[in-house]
């Protein structure tokens, strides 16, 4: 997938909230939920959820992306979890 960086916004947008495996330069593979793809550089922002304990973010630079394979469709719960991580604290709904 050499032309990953040349995809259109609607093609990248379809990957949001999907679980994917990104193959990068040198056969490096990364797995996670897609929060976004930067439309300028094609960089993929992946989130790995390790239960309640820890969450990590991995960004694969667009120029190093070789292939992106969808593993699982995300649901509304995943979408909300991802949004809660990145959106400002003031906009989160707090419950008792």
């Amino acid at each position: 997938m050499q032309d990953w960086c040349k995809k259109r916004p609607h093609e990248w947008h379809k990957y949001i909230n999907q679980e994917v495996r990104v193959t990068a330069h040198d056969k490096n593979e990364y797995q996670g939920w897609v929060f976004t793809v930067d439309p300028v550089s094609g960089s993929v922002v992946l989130v790995t959820l390790h239960g309640q304990q820890s969450t990590s973010v991995r960004v694969v630079m667009g120029h190093a992306v070789r292939d992106v394979e969808v593993l699982k469709e995300g649901d509304e719960e995943i979408a909300q979890q991802l949004n809660a991580l990145f959106m400002p604290a003031g906009s989160q709904v707090l419950t008792n």
């Binding site: 259109r8 916004p9 609607h10 990248w12 947008h13 949001i16 990068a24 330069h25 040198d26 490096n28 990364y30 929060f35 976004t36 793809v37 930067d38 439309p39 300028v40 550089s41 960089s43 922002v45 820890s54 969450t55 990590s56 973010v57 991995r58 960004v59 694969v60 630079m61 120029h63 190093a64 991580l85 990145f86 959106m87």
Partner: protein, 89 residues
């Protein structure tokens, strides 16, 4: 087709582009002042505290860059040299 449907199409692409970009900028905000691990070309791994990026995301400004050759107090990483980077939340 007509120019009208083209305009709608362009507008929709622009809306999606804005949403994708806003999300990406939020990921940069979230990364500020965090320890970030960078995988560079030639299998070099470095670690540093993320400071800021320029508007075109061509360079990252970092502090306390830990390299195999020692620690750099302040440094600029060229994004074209990076394969991927990661940080914990």
């Amino acid at each position: 087709h007509t120019t009208g449907t083209d305009a709608v199409h362009v507008e929709e692409e622009q809306r999606l582009r804005t949403e994708l970009r806003e999300r990406f900028l939020r990921s940069l905000i979230l990364m500020s002042n965090k320890e970030v691990y960078f995988s560079m070309y030639e299998r070099v791994q470095v670690q540093a505290k993320f400071g800021a990026s320029d508007i075109d995301i061509l360079n990252f400004q970092v502090s306390d860059l830990q390299t195999p050759l020692g620690v750099q107090k302040e440094a600029i990483l060229r994004c074209q040299d990076i394969i991927s980077y990661s940080f914990d939340l």
